[in-house]
């Protein structure tokens, strides 16, 4: 088992109930674990939510954390994975002054090369959206910041695993 700290992505399947976010985040808070990113959304199964939590820690500790997470009554199952075992994305949006788009040729190149997308343009500002890996988003941020960014925001990581996570079969056995 790896004793080095590394980035792990935790996927938690839960009942879609009020208060669970509180319970789950408290597990990390109590142990002074900084959450790098957290996303919660519906999952592929109706009525089941999925949390995607990114943390930096050792495998030994993450196992203990997973145990604590799964102990919550309304958690169906929790998994952890390293970056090689998942396909993951983040997304971000930038708001920039509109005159830049017309005056600075380079901006248009940056947008094109980074596979970003212009979402909207009006007289005062335009908005760019990009999905990708953390590094790609950071690069785009650095490049655009040379021109001045009015607003920037970025989502938590979302991911799917390369291997199957047999949640549906598991839920079937629960129901019987």
């Amino acid at each position: 088992m790896s004793t080095e700290k590394q980035l792990y992505t935790i996927s938690v399947y839960t009942e879609n109930n009020i208060g669970l976010l509180n319970r789950i985040s408290a597990i990390f808070q109590r142990r002074h674990i900084n959450i790098e990113s957290l996303n919660t959304s519906p999952s592929e199964i109706e009525g089941v939510s999925r949390f995607t939590i990114v943390i930096n820690m050792t495998e030994e500790n993450i196992k203990k954390i997973i145990g604590q997470v799964e102990k919550q009554v309304e958690v169906i199952k929790a998994y952890y994975h390293n970056d090689n075992e998942i396909i993951y994305q983040e997304s971000c949006i930038f708001k920039m002054r509109s005159d830049l788009l017309f005056d600075e040729r380079e901006i248009q190149n940056i947008i094109k090369e980074s596979n970003a997308r212009i979402v909207t343009v009006n007289k005062e500002f335009f908005v760019i959206e990009k999905s990708g890996k953390k590094e790609e988003i950071e690069l785009l941020y650095r490049e655009l910041s040379n021109f001045g960014i009015m607003q920037f925001t970025r989502s938590g990581r979302i991911s799917v695993t390369k291997e199957e996570m047999k949640i549906s079969t598991m839920l079937e056995t629960y129901n019987n």
Partner: protein
């Protein structure tokens, strides 16, 4: 959402009746076979109290004198009966006063359901009068909690609450119900909850792991068992005794495991941990196989984890998967209910006596007896000791009493020296170490098991944290025997100050009131003992009393509890003086 998951897993009965949410709450409690609840009224829970008035022939409500007292009474009730204890309070301050008891129940795995009133749902989040976010506040200390804003959700949520509180590793559950939901009428029907989709309370014992465990146990030369409350919670006492006897393995207990097998059992080698017995602490670091059953390797038990049983193969019988390898790395983990696992284990075990190894425990006990125990329970000079009081209670109760302790030196002494002949006889706050637990917990224990002698033993400090529950004792005619061991100090803290802070007794000296007068003020028979010669007669009089009785014993002011493992030290660094 809440109700959806429940409805999926159970059929609802067709018999319905239109009643209010508050009546539904009471009817749910009756359906869960609740006969006694502890609580305190207030604005946001008044509709429920009004129904309790109506149903008083079915449910006895005990008016505690503080909501903390209500939770501890519910805990005492649960610990001696194995049933779910119930506490009820109003919103805001009533609800926050429950928190200490809830936290205590959580860490000691005590099944408890707390019901709190809440402001009307349209006021939620507005800082309304007596509004607190009790669901948010109680989240880290509950096994599960939930807020209800619609009357029609009440039956399913309460059913789920009882199921979760009592199943698997038990724990406290809080249900917060808004006042409008209490008034609202709906078609009531009740179905007990038997399943929650995402929750697997009792992992099925894996036969292979039991076989692997048996193999290691049979090959062991120096095996030792440490058992905890899990044995009691799964009612595995008989199965456990059979295992211990067949394999001839010396068995030691954690503070919450006490009484699962009698103190006098030849293979019972005493308590482990900070103030545990000498032999099991020392030999933890000599055994070749350490079999942990229904215990969780709390740091008060293990001391320094880096020096804990490193030489031993550890086998862990445990119901809660998150406890496996949490503190101590195991060779074999047997997940599941202790009784189920031990039943599987028994036929696989070889008969054995391990007499030479067992002799090591006896030899070390002899050393502990000479250095510590003799003077603790049979002192010949100096003031009264806590140990001799406990010993006198043993003699007069013939080891049949349930002993409820508070927290401090007296707790360690009581747990070390009390004779337990029956299971569920040691009721104490283990994991949280909550001063003020003792008196109210004793009330709950006595009400759950009126046929049993219940003796509460407290220090002068902790007693005063919930001394108001004397009012409950009096009003309920709860025939508890209350012993206060008065050393005029916050003794346990003073001991640490003496040993580790250069005798600087910062704020541990207590100037105490006239305890006898206070008890008498509550119309409770009371006596104070200051001399050794008076002790036996006073304890005899107390035990003979049919009613509640208060006994203050003035003990030596600066006695210490030994053995002791300084915090953070290894279990084999246990000090006898």
């Amino acid at each position: 959402m809440e109700t959806q998951t429940i409805k999926k897993t159970q059929k609802t009965t067709n018999v319905t009746e239109r009643i209010s949410g508050s009546e539904a709450i009471v009817r749910c409690l009756i359906a869960e076979d609740v006969k006694i609840i502890y609580g305190y009224p207030g604005g946001a829970i008044m509709p429920v109290y009004d129904e309790l008035y109506k149903y008083q022939d079915k449910i006895h409500h005990v008016l505690s004198r503080h909501e903390q007292g209500a939770t501890h009474s519910a805990q005492g009730f649960a610990r001696i009966s194995g049933k779910v204890g119930v506490a009820i309070a109003t919103s805001g301050p009533g609800a926050t006063n429950l928190i200490t008891g809830i936290a205590d129940a959580q860490i000691d795995s005590t099944p408890m359901v707390c019901i709190t009133g809440q402001v009307a749902s349209h006021l939620l989040g507005s800082d309304a009068f007596q509004e607190t976010d009790i669901v948010g506040i109680s989240t880290p200390v509950t096994k599960w909690n939930c807020q209800v804003t619609k009357a029609s959700d009440i039956p399913a949520v309460i059913a789920k609450a009882f199921y979760i509180a009592r199943s698997g590793r038990p724990g406290p559950v809080l249900v917060d119900i808004t006042k409008d939901a209490q008034f609202e009428e709906f078609d009531f029907s009740y179905e007990k909850c038997t399943k929650v989709r995402s929750y697997n309370p009792v992992p099925k014992t894996d036969v292979k792991s039991v076989e692997a465990a048996a193999k290691i146990i049979n090959a062991a030369k120096k095996p030792m068992i440490v058992w905890g409350q899990g044995v009691i919670l799964s009612e595995a006492e008989e199965a456990f005794k059979a295992v211990v006897e067949k394999a001839g393995i010396p068995a030691a207990w954690t503070i919450l495991g006490a009484s699962a097998i009698p103190t006098s059992h030849p293979l019972n080698v005493g308590m482990v941990g900070m103030h545990g017995n000498y032999a099991p602490n020392i030999l933890t670091n000599e055994c070749d196989v350490l079999i942990a059953i229904g215990m969780r390797f709390d740091d008060r038990v293990t001391g320094d984890l880096n020096k804990y049983a490193k030489q031993a193969k550890v086998i862990h019988f445990e119901i809660d998967p998150s406890e496996i390898d949490k503190n101590v790395k195991t060779a074999i983990a047997v997940l599941g209910d202790a009784k189920a696992s031990l039943d599987l284990l028994l036929p696989l075990l070889d008969e054995n006596t391990h007499s030479e190894w067992h002799q090591r425990f006896k030899d070390l006990y002899a050393i502990e007896y000479e250095k510590v125990i003799k003077d603790d329970i049979h002192p010949t000079k100096g003031g009264l000791t806590m140990g001799e009081v406990v010993n006198e209670i043993n003699i007069q109760s013939k080891g049949e009493a349930a002993i409820v302790t508070d927290v401090g030196q007296h707790q360690m002494i009581a747990c070390r020296y009390a004779q337990f002949n029956k299971t569920k006889s040691n009721i104490t706050s283990g994991g949280l170490g909550t001063m003020g637990f003792g008196l109210p917990a004793a009330i709950g224990a006595k009400m759950a098991a009126p046929e049993r002698e219940v003796v509460s033993i407290s220090g002068d400090g902790g007693y005063q944290m919930t001394i108001q529950e004397l009012g409950t004792v009096f009003q309920q005619k709860a025939a508890v025997k209350i012993v206060v061991l008065n050393n005029e100090f916050l003794g346990m803290v003073r001991q640490w100050q003496q040993l580790f802070f250069d005798k600087r007794y910062a704020s541990t000296e207590m100037v105490n009131p006239n305890f006898v007068a206070i008890a008498e003020g509550y119309y409770i028979k009371a006596k104070k003992v200051t001399k050794r010669e008076e002790l036996a007669a006073a304890v005899a009089e107390m035990m003979a009393s049919k009613e509640a009785y208060f006994l203050e014993v003035c003990v030596e002011k600066e006695n210490n509890v030994f053995p002791m493992i300084p915090s953070g030290a290894s279990v084999s660094d246990v000090r006898l003086e």
